[in-house]
């Protein structure tokens, strides 16, 4: 006689859910015990605000949910909530993010550790819904921490890490997590959701300390100042951004210790780069067609690898240069544009060019623009880019132009 005993899963086990990147962010916000969230709808970010609203309505999360009358107020409200000690979240997409611009630029100097989700969307005009990275990249110079995610799992994990990094007193900077519109925000994938107990071991409470706006800590925030103070304030911001390197390393190491997963290298994912002759570089969900194409090409003897950048600010200069300089040629695929920039390249290509400038070994670098406005990046696009990279590897020369892939011509 067999007695079937069904083991109840231990309370500390992860549970597996089929959720989108946006829903994964909402799961993480519940686990992070979010205090204040502001919302104003715009696709594709609105999937997050809907997911959070549902969590609150279902009683899974107790938080202030404020629907603002526009993105400008949306970001202002969380900025103020954060200064009184609330853990905050907001987000937007495309021109909605642009409408909040005044608030986006004041957040870093005020050292507000706001976490925002940018559901990447093409800027108007034309009004379109598909992904381009130009929206989030617009704040690349002003003190926002910027990272790009690829999967629902990474969305959940990165959201937890984001609070850990942004709310570290050494940093105290806003952090934007970029998720490719549609490809990630609207695609549901199997995702491991950890229990709150584990999250509590990883993520301390937000402590604003000496910067807390409270009657017991009387301070004035953001007084007007003249040129006798501004450059010192910028210098402080620069220092906080530099300290973020260490804090990000620490956070990922601790994440691996607590959750038993997560990358050793926080900064970028390396796929088949060990023996790669050609390394392609991109950010976000573009990794999927590239990985598939790489596998296909390797069956034909082409040793191709991928570096998928996770962190764009702070930019992982040293580690990236070490990873890239061993290749025979590089192909940078931007899902963004920077009209009139050096060589007409996208933002990532030009950043990598700059990073390589002092490198001992500089492989030929080819710059590509692809997948704008949410257009599919096809395997054929990747094959084409790779072939051109092999040409550059052979000639040993970078060509001083930028190649647009997948455009009708």
């Amino acid at each position: 006689m067999a007695v079937a005993t069904k083991a109840t899963p231990a309370a500390t086990d992860d549970k597996e859910l089929l959720i989108s990147g946006s829903e994964a962010v909402a799961e993480a916000l519940v686990l992070a015990d979010l205090d204040v969230v502001t919302a104003y709808p715009i696709r594709p970010y609105d999937t997050v605000m809907q997911a959070i609203a549902k969590k609150i309505a279902n009683g899974e999360l107790v938080a202030e949910y404020i629907v603002a009358e526009g993105e400008h107020s949306q970001f202002e409200i969380v900025k103020h909530a954060s200064t009184v000690g609330a853990r905050v979240f907001c987000g937007s997409s495309g021109v909605g993010w642009m409408y909040a611009m005044e608030c986006l630029v004041v957040t870093p100097p005020l050292r507000v550790p706001m976490v925002a989700l940018v559901g990447n969307r093409a800027l108007d005009d034309p009004g379109a819904f598909g992904v381009e990275h130009n929206d989030a990249l617009v704040v690349r110079d002003v003190g926002w921490l910027l990272c790009w995610i690829d999967t629902s799992q990474e969305a959940l994990d990165t959201t937890l890490i984001a609070y850990r990094v942004a709310e570290d007193r050494r940093v105290f900077l806003p952090l934007a997590i970029s998720a490719d519109g549609a490809f990630l925000t609207h695609s549901q994938a199997l995702t491991m959701v950890p229990p709150k107990e584990k999250v509590d071991r990883f993520l301390p409470r937000y402590n604003r300390g000496d910067l807390l706006l409270h009657p017991d800590n009387p301070i004035t925030v953001a007084p007007q100042a003249n040129e006798d103070w501004v450059i010192e304030i910028r210098r402080q911001n620069n220092e906080a951004m530099k300290r973020a390197y260490t804090v990000i390393e620490e956070a990922y190491a601790d994440f691996r210790r607590v959750f038993g997963r997560g990358p050793e290298n926080p900064w970028f994912e390396e796929y088949m780069t060990d023996d790669a002759e050609i390394i392609l570089v991109g950010m976000g969900t573009i990794s999927l067609p590239i990985k598939v194409a790489i596998r296909e090409m390797r069956t034909k003897g082409k040793k191709v690898g991928l570096v998928r950048l996770r962190w764009f600010r702070p930019f992982p200069t040293d580690r990236l240069v070490a990873a890239l300089s061993k290749a025979q040629a590089l192909g940078i695929i931007d899902r963004d544009y920077s009209f009139g920039s050096p060589f007409g390249s996208g933002v990532v290509a030009n950043e990598i060019r700059a990073a390589l400038y002092n490198a001992e070994r500089r492989p030929p670098l080819l710059s590509f623009i692809c997948g704008l406005g949410g257009r599919e990046v096809t395997l054929e696009d990747v094959y084409k880019a790779t072939d051109m990279c092999y040409g550059a590897a052979k000639s040993g020369k970078s060509d001083a132009t930028t190649h647009w892939l997948g455009v009708r011509e």
């Binding site: 100097p109 005020l110 050292r111 507000v112 105290f172 000496d210 910067l211 009387p218 301070i219 004035t220 925030v221 953001a222 007084p223 100042a225 003249n226 040129e227 006798d228 103070w229 450059i231 010192e232 304030i233 210098r235 402080q236 220092e239 906080a240």
Partner: protein
């Protein structure tokens, strides 16, 4: 001299247009002798609040290259001529843009000139102007401070008098003919103004100032914090709660440690503590919270914080309990209440003398005199007061022109 650098120190807003006209006039006049020039303001001395000292600059040079050489700074670090259009600025310059107290002659080069409009005697002015470690010249144009407002300009010829005087001070760059020609061509020029410039040229009073002369006070200054010493997040500590004046009575608030207002005012309140009814109005209405509460419940205007706006005088319900008096007649910033407590009789004598001085209590702001400037000045000097025709705040105004 291959270049002449001039600064115009003026009272924010009240003399904004005056200063702008002067520096424009300098450049346009020098142009008549084939010189190059530039006129600019330091708006960083923001926000040019009422009465706060501000500066405009004019640089003229023989060649464009020399001009650029002198322009390659945000503001000049030394000037050949310091032009002062309100003699209460003789006490120095404090504002948002210059931390601490800057003596009025600080930027003046050795043997340079401080050119001032004033009806005070030179010795009186030298009690206010700080000592300098090099000799310089003090040139006076006999005129009052020309105050008007933000959008208006008082056509009292002050700007052309300055230009005429400069033709005497720096004839190699501004010839009298060049000045006159430029004035005629300017949008605000006229033949009458040309005559005013010529008179100023002829009447300019200049005297050497030795290094032994002047106010010996060491001006207070601040050390600006390093970037790593500053609080993060664009935050500053709130001003802490103040303390009782003494024995648990009265109240003295803490104040901004980086910005005193000793010289930001052209007038200050003089208080009759014997007639004060302790109504609190001055204390509540003061936009700069300058009043300290004394143990007896009266209010002492703290000169560290008073910007001289005159609101207290306007709201005070008691006749001549608070009277605004021109800064030039005060030698220090001491507490009036302490003086009164020490010797009430002596204070009464002092106070009566200060508020009885019609020259010192009349407002020179705005358009209050109709007629020739020389008549206004004569009347002002001879009888100590001019007819006020408009716009003085407060119910006590009538008592100032009796």
């Amino acid at each position: 001299m291959a270049a002449v650098i001039c600064e115009v120190v003026y009272r924010g807003i009240f003399q904004k247009n005056l200063a702008a006209r002067i520096v424009r006039g300098i450049v346009l006049s020098a142009r008549k002798s084939g010189r190059w020039g530039i006129a600019f303001g330091r708006y960083g001395d923001s926000p040019q609040r009422n009465g706060i000292p501000a500066k405009d600059f004019a640089i003229v040079a023989d060649t464009n290259e020399e001009l650029e050489q002198n322009m390659a700074r945000y503001e000049p670090k030394h000037v050949d001529v310091t032009i002062v259009v309100d003699d209460t600025l003789a006490k120095g310059v404090e504002s948002w843009a210059w931390y601490g107290l800057q003596p009025i002659n600080r930027l003046t080069v050795p043997d340079g000139t401080v050119l001032m409009t004033s009806v005070q005697r030179v010795d009186d002015l030298l009690r206010d102007i700080h000592k300098k470690d090099a000799p310089y010249k003090l040139s006076l144009i006999r005129a009052k401070a020309s105050f008007s407002g933000l959008w208006v300009y008082k056509e009292d010829h002050t700007e052309v008098r300055i230009l005429g005087a400069l033709a005497k001070i720096a004839p190699a760059f501004l010839t009298l003919d060049g000045v006159c020609e430029a004035i005629r061509e300017m949008e605000w020029g006229s033949d009458l103004k040309v005559e005013s410039a010529k008179k100023a040229y002829a009447r300019l009073e200049t005297r050497e100032v030795k290094i032994t002369e002047g106010n010996a006070e060491v001006p207070y200054s601040f050390e600006m914090p390093k970037w790593w010493e500053m609080r993060e997040g664009v935050t500053i500590p709130a001003i802490p709660v103040g303390k009782p004046k003494e024995d648990g009575k009265g109240y003295v608030p803490e104040r901004n440690p980086y910005f005193k207002k000793y010289t930001t005012r052209s007038m200050r309140p003089v208080i009759n503590f014997d007639t004060c009814v302790k109504c609190t109005l001055c204390w509540i209405q003061c936009p700069d919270s300058c009043f300290d509460v004394m143990p007896d419940g009266t209010y002492d205007a703290n000169m560290e914080a008073c910007c001289g706006c005159g609101v207290c005088e306007a709201v005070c319900p008691v006749e001549q309990c608070i009277t605004m008096v021109n800064e030039s007649v005060f030698e220090d910033n001491a507490s009036q209440w302490e003086m009164w407590r020490k010797d009430k009789g002596a204070y009464h004598t002092w106070m009566t003398q200060k508020i009885g001085d019609k020259k010192a209590t009349v407002r020179s702001h705005g358009f209050r005199f109709r007629g020739q400037y020389e008549e206004e000045l004569k009347s002002d000097l001879d009888s100590g007061g001019v007819e006020i025709t408009a716009g003085i705040p407060g119910e006590n105004a009538q008592h100032k022109t009796e």
